[in-house]
Symmetry: C3
Subunit: 310 residues, 3 copies
């Protein structure tokens, strides 16, 4: 599943919900948590429920960010929003296995009530406190519902008592651990929101770092962030080209009965060839997404095209 | 409690102890360990005891760095220095929970003997070996006496068999873990000494890195290091200004029934507003310290002053 | 033991095996794994066995990279190669304690069969998957046979689904942990191969980073990588010079009854003096290696020579 961009939409803003219909992030997240002031939680729940039940978002993958377990608001949130069209919940401030298990039990109850199959609703926990990061070993794999592990940089910095730096040095360890535990348990690592909407360069820098650490997608808070983030989590033409060369050279070597080959001065053996195949598979998967940024078919074959034969 | 600067003073140098009276780090540490050669341990203990009992340091927060548990010198160190004026001990080469517990039992014995309340004497462990860093999960929270967790970069590099680099790359993981476990257990993360006394730029760079990773103070070895370190662990006027803007904008948004607002192109919601409030609270706390570098009262109100109204 | 450079030699290439005789890495690794296609495993095993039994490599320290436990090829690999001349095996894709223990039992069986002392054959596990890195605490110390812990950057990147970056940011955490657990258990940390044979600058950069993180050697895949890697894992003349100054100044201070001294504006106390002594001991050990890059004897004494007296 692709979750390169997950766009937050405030659950209490009818106009923004309406506008979201025309947008193409890989997922939408209707927010009942930080975007909604306490007095409007009830109205927001109903607005989100109506949006889900109207079928207006049938072509989207829709998540709802519910309120944290500790607020006591979670059972009522779930009562309103669990439904056939809801893909999953985003669970903020997840700190331990018990938190995921409690949310999972509440989901099961709502699924039973609505006649949905058990496990229909996925969970994307946001790990965004020091305690959560230090408990990743128990959070990862805590439920079959987990679709990924998300990192929350703003809350994490607040919890640690530091400002966010452009170099993300305070976020290097938490990001690394979220990426590793996501991979260990075969779910997606999803990076934090980047709050500075006007800073496109900062967004690209942070997204590139996240990708390099193993993240597969990012939470976004403004439609203008979608294009760059989708692009950065999609193999580039140059990457696809290099991967095709690597795979072709390795396959030829294999046919000659050899197990490694030199491509552009670099030794290519099994792990490097496997990585190139993985990149091509990702590029193909993205090209079959209805909402994907478009590719030339020739760019995603793993056979070298005529323009690379020289 | 503020422990931005903790100044080491050799416990065997009467002249330096005398000079320390006029200095204003957030704490003094009389050293019985590495600064004192074996033959002078006894004389140093008595010198430190006399300094404590004389009342000459009554206005200071005074710690003593004792010898490591493994030396066998610790019981005698404590016999001499535990007293009403001693705020705590700095425990070098702490490697496991048992080390802290053993020191804590010895402290209790001395507190009983001196008629001091149990728990009067705090412990600041220095974690400065590979084993200690890998055991942080058991060291953190090992005693209610812990006031912080300190990192020792010189001993750590020696244990790992590497030189210290200016980029601190070998110290990134240990610093990160000390900061996270300090936060997890609600004590202060205190950074290593910086031995190159003449290198003010290097000191500022290392201190800034430590602050960004969540440290709240630093061990210093020369009076000339105090000013820079205090300054770097104190919110700057510009930071205070930005925090006031953020808090003011968020409060206005809240009054309008909204949960987020854009300030200078950046989305501000709960975690960011909370962080700004935390920074203002720290600035206020520092301004009330007798030894603090001075602030204009207007700079630390969280209401915007007239000069920021435009 | 010095293992600054461990050179891979494909086990199925008679010509390359022959050429390796004249090379002087600190160890040779005959490869039965990724360098050998499935159809040639049997021939490669016999070629490696013959090379070992011929006595042609008696002056070398020889390892064999066997196939991973999960392939089922390991028992046959060991049946052929365990012998008096084999120093140890390199065990790829090591992910847990059980993997090391299983390999160790198989080695014991072959040692018994060949009349070799139990434990004759060492193990160098390569940790090169996300699971392996997260399991380092159980892999380290899992057998007395362990001579080190090696990091495999190519397989790790493939497992995580990322390309390798020149900054090695995706490899910072795994390298850090391999170095720390190697030190904790008193074995050598050995860094990954660097596949870009033509990129000497990249090799030096990666090797320097590894050294700074605590690594003591590196896997190499081409004879031309040996010189740079040996050099970077050997104290330089300038480092030796500085270390001699530090030790001399500290010894003089100690003789005066002092425990610290300032050298070039930097405070030198026990940990810094110990580190300098360690560096000099390493330089001496290297100078006594038959294959070492040569030193002037004066450069490795820890007494300052006449040229440094001014």
């Amino acid at each position: 599943m692709l979750l390169r961009t997950m766009l937050f939409v405030p659950g209490n803003r009818a106009g923004m919900i309406e506008k979201a219909k025309a947008l193409d992030p890989d997922a939408l997240i209707f927010d009942l948590e930080d975007a909604v002031p306490p007095a409007e939680k009830g109205a927001a729940r109903r607005m989100v429920r109506d949006a889900l039940e109207s079928g207006r978002f049938a072509r989207h993958r829709v998540y709802v960010r519910v309120n944290a377990l500790s607020t006591g608001l979670l059972p009522t949130d779930l009562e309103e929003v669990v439904s056939p069209h809801l893909h999953g919940i985003v669970l903020p401030k997840t700190e331990d296995r018990e938190g995921v298990e409690a949310a999972s039990r509440m989901l099961l109850e709502q699924e039973n009530r609505r006649g949905l199959p058990a496990g229909h609703t996925r969970i994307l926990p946001i790990v965004e406190t020091v305690r959560g990061i230090l408990n990743l070993a128990q959070i990862a794999g805590s439920s079959d519902r987990l679709v990924g592990l998300a990192y929350g940089a703003e809350d994490f910095a607040t919890d640690l008592g530091v400002e966010r730096s452009r170099e993300c040095i305070e976020g290097l360890y938490p990001r690394t651990m979220v990426a590793l535990y996501a991979r260990l348990t075969n779910v997606l690592a999803i990076d934090s929101v980047f709050a500075d909407i006007g800073d496109g360069e900062g967004l690209e820098k942070e997204t590139s770092l996240a990708r390099q650490l193993g993240f597969k997608g990012k939470l976004v808070i403004h439609p203008r962030q979608i294009e760059a983030v989708n692009r950065l989590f999609t193999p580039s033409r140059a990457e696809i080209e290099r991967a095709r060369q690597v795979v072709a050279a390795y396959d030829e070597a294999e046919a000659r009965g050899e197990a490694s080959v030199t491509v552009n001065g670099k030794m290519v053996d099994i792990p490097i060839a496997e990585r190139a195949r993985g990149l091509l598979a990702l590029a193909r998967a993205i090209s079959f997404q209805p909402s994907a940024i478009s590719f030339q078919p020739s760019a995603i074959s793993d056979q070298p095209g005529p323009e690379t034969a020289t």
